[in-house]
């Protein structure tokens, strides 16, 4: 099932070849049309593309906004320059360079390699910081750390003249030492494209995207977002470092301001205009913004007399001035954020489109007659699994002065369906949060198969087999139905050994989602979303499945169907089930045993009949004391 060479490598590579050809081709056509003046513009565009693709790998896949990638670029750029500039030249500019760097003499290729390694090492440290700060999609403190990096590199570059040549003099390559061929740039660009696409399709990329879409849900499915974010960061920084080295080489000079605010703005705008979540989008953004800036520059320079179009521009003359480019950038960023935050392409990816076309035409030819042929097998019957026991003792939880749970005990075994019932605010969801590691109890113990798992992180509990769904739906909205389930399957393949893996297609069919398998989760209606949550949790082959109000908002018919699906899936994977609800009839209908919660305590526990007969329950829950 994973990895699929065709889907995860071949299509991205073929797609990259085509995209690369179109992008470079467009640049060359413009260059031929306008001649030498446009040559540098195109070169710069190609290098910008490498850097923007590098940024996309991190920002796109993790959703963490980084202002720091140009700071990484500065580190790489200076490292490259200090190593690549010849000793004679260094003797003139930075004779007092520390660590004997003034005498070092290596080839440009080696210098790029050193720049990449050093910058990735720095990224490793920054990455630990980002992880510690709780980086996740849109996280503010992570973004500020990246901003701090940008400013620190700039400050150091300005104030360490022995190494960097300082703020005004800077570093220079001798004339003629510049790039005399574009081949390295082409190689870097193609490499960046392939790396970006293959990473996005890789296990790490998919898990990172799941965490981008919903950090909490990803952790509840056993994903450790911090590991995937780190992987994305290191790969991303490596690509940016190559791009930054090329940029320095092409410019032939390096000043602190070359890798600072303005370039950060430019690259970020390029990224978001095309669509930050898409590699194709990043490339499109680079093209669009390069064209736009060129236009703005020409407008600023020549007014309205461009491309042979002459207009009487007097009244608007004040608009078009030099430096129009910067305003153009700022306005583009603002405009896109306000009108189209997901960029021109959103999640659209060229090679995925190619693949879907390819598949449709092939399937169309082969299987039009037998439509049902593709329908997957039903879930297999249960193989025997080791029985599991989940036990909580004396759990206390308080939020501030409010006691959400006091002295709660609970036992669940595989094969059982346990109902947890109680009025709103009784502590049911808090209990599930404790069991899944989202809330740490102030006291009490919680064990799985006799092993103490109190204060185990959520993702680790999920890998141990304690998996939940959410009351307020937390799907990976931008992923398709199948991709949502695949996230769990990826984790199960690595961490649920000893269990028979569930076939992704079978689970989807079992949850009545087969016809929607290629829809994005955000397009699903409410009932299907709930079924997808169940399917996603089941694909992890959990030992315990915790369902937080699985039928809320469903019609009676849908609820009944859902109960059947829950029972069948649980039986197939041999899981114990804990169902939370406040509907007494629903709970008594499906549960083997029931815990009744009220005001943070378990007030009754037993079979449906026992619980219903309990006088305390009648008072607390039904609100009546007498017989009915």
């Amino acid at each position: 099932m994973f990895p699929s060479l065709g889907r995860d490598v071949a299509f991205p590579v073929v797609g990259s070849v085509l995209l690369f050809s179109v992008f470079v081709g467009a640049g060359l056509i413009y260059q031929n049309w306008l001649g030498g003046a446009a040559e540098r513009l195109v070169t710069v565009m190609l290098i910008d593309a490498v850097i923007v693709l590098g940024i996309q790998i991190y920002v796109g896949n993790t959703g963490v906004l980084s202002f720091g990638h140009i700071g990484f670029g500065a580190i790489a750029g200076y490292t490259f320059a200090v190593f690549a500039i010849s000793p004679e030249e260094k003797a003139k500019r930075i004779p007092d360079a520390p660590f004997g760097l003034a005498e070092v003499d290596v080839s440009s290729t080696t210098a790029v390699l050193i720049a990449v390694l050093l910058t990735v090492a720095v990224a490793l440290i920054i990455g630990v910081g980002l992880a510690r700060s709780g980086a996740q999609s849109g996280a503010v403190s992570a973004t500020v750390i990246t901003l701090a990096l940008l400013f620190v590199t700039h400050e150091v570059a300005r104030n360490w003249p022995e190494l960097t040549g300082g703020e005004r003099a800077g570093l220079f390559f001798p004339i003629g030492g510049k790039l005399d061929t574009r081949v390295p740039i082409y190689v870097a660009l193609f490499g960046a494209l392939v790396v970006a696409r293959v990473y996005a399709q890789s296990r790490s990329g998919r898990l990172a995207v799941a965490a981008r879409e919903d950090n909490l849900a990803a952790r509840a499915m056993g994903v450790n977002p911090l590991v995937q974010q780190m992987a994305a960061l290191l790969i991303s920084v490596a690509v940016v470092s190559v791009g930054a080295s090329l940029r320095v080489y092409e410019d032939g000079s390096l000043l602190p301001d070359n890798f600072f605010f303005n370039y950060t703005l430019l690259t970020l705008v390029m990224l978001i205009v095309g669509g930050r979540n898409s590699v194709t989008g990043a490339l499109l953004g680079v093209a669009v913004m390069t064209a736009g800036r060129e236009l703005a520059r020409r407008l600023g320079q020549d007014g309205f007399e461009i491309f042979g179009i002459g207009l009487d521009g007097e009244p608007l003359d004040w608009v078009f001035r030099e430096n129009l480019q910067t305003v153009f950038l700022g306005v583009s960023m603002l405009g896109f954020m306000i009108l189209r935050p997901s960029g021109l392409l959103g999640d659209w990816e060229f090679d995925e489109w190619l693949r879907s076309r390819f598949r449709r035409s092939r399937v169309g030819r082969k299987a039009q007659a037998a439509e049902t042929e593709t329908k997957p097998d039903p879930l297999p019957e249960l193989e025997s699994v080791e029985p599991s026991v989940l036990e909580a003792q004396g759990i206390d939880v308080s939020f501030g002065g409010f006691k959400a749970l006091s002295n709660v005990g609970l036992v669940a075994r595989s094969g059982e369906v346990i109902g947890i019932i109680g009025p709103n605010g009784a502590g049911k969801t808090t209990m599930v949060n404790v069991i899944t590691g989202l809330v740490e109890p102030s006291s009490g113990k919680f064990s799985l198969n006799g092993e103490d798992v109190t204060s185990t992180p959520t993702h680790r509990l999920a890998r141990l087999g304690v998996v939940r769904t959410f009351q307020n739906l937390r799907l990976f909205a931008a992923l398709t139905v199948r991709e949502n389930v695949e996230v769990s399957a990826l984790i199960a393949a690595d961490h649920r050994q000893g269990r028979t893996l569930i076939d992704v297609d079978s689970v989807i069919a079992e949850a009545s989602l087969w016809e929607y398998r290629d829809r994005r989760a955000r397009e699903l209606d409410y009932g299907n979303s709930r079924r997808l949550e169940l399917a996603r949790a089941a694909a992890l082959t959990p030992s315990f499945l915790l369902l937080d109000e699985p039928t809320s908002g469903m019609s009676d018919l849908e609820s009944t169907e859902m109960i059947e699906q829950v029972r069948h899936m649980a039986a197939t994977i041999g899981a114990g089930v804990l169902v939370i609800d406040h509907d007494l009839n629903f709970i008594t209908g499906i549960s083997d045993r029931i815990y009744v919660f009220d005001h943070g305590e378990v007030i009754a526990h037993g079979s449906a009949e026992e619980v219903q007969a309990d006088p305390l329950v009648r008072v607390a829950y039904l609100g009546t004391e007498g017989t009915t």
Partner: protein, 295 residues
Amino acid sequence: MIELLQNLIDGLGRGSIYALLALGVAVVFGVMHLLNFAHGELITISGYAAYAAGQQGWSWYIIAPLIVVCAVVASLVIERVAFSRVRGESDFTLLLTSFGVHFVVSAAFLLYVSASVKTYPRPGWVTNTYSVGPLNIEVFDTVVIVVTIVTLIATTMLLQRTMFGLALRAASADFDTARLMGVKSDSVIRGAFALSGLLAGIAGVFWLMRAGSTTPSAGIDPMLKGVLAALIGGLGSLRGAVLGGFALGLAEVLLRSRLPDSIASLTEGVIFVLIALLFIFRPQGLITVAHAERV
């Protein structure tokens, strides 16, 4: 000991301005979850207004209130033009929107005014000092500290004693619930931006007074100070923001006077590293705001 006391006073003066900036950032963050990278632009805009007024030959004592008014108006206009359109969008969008505003404003000044430094008149007492025992105290710092204390007391009263204050605090704690309770989101958000602008304006008067000039990129520095101080204090906490402002001011003064000469020029860099470390070990800032994620 004397030196430490001297640092303390200098740090308080510097920290006062940061505290006002940070409070403005925190107030807006509270109601909109927006970390406003454009906060410093209020000072850029006011700075150019001061320059324009100075060209007319107006005295500083007219320019100062003008700066405050300008900052409030600019804050409201920016909210109207940009931020009101991205309410409720993802944090990613909000962050980049404010970043975009920052660039549009500074680029517009670069393009339509000038890249060169613009000066304006300022009162003669800015650079005066007086002595208390062995301590040298700037008149400027004294004024800043006094005005800041008065402003903070007034702001506290506003937040504690008025309906607007109650609405704003409720919205900061839980925006959706506050709305259900009848708090008008429009007026709270606009009020927050006005208050944020007012605080930036008061800070701006001192900032500009000390600087004596403005450039298109003059907003970066106050923006950074405000944002960082708010983060140091713990985003969402107004008290934390003020505390963060003073902490940042003190840290700057202490580092600048204590760091060995060889790296003294890197003070700013050192502070960034310290702040990054703070986030790493205390991601929620100095003051913890309960942010229970609801599941």
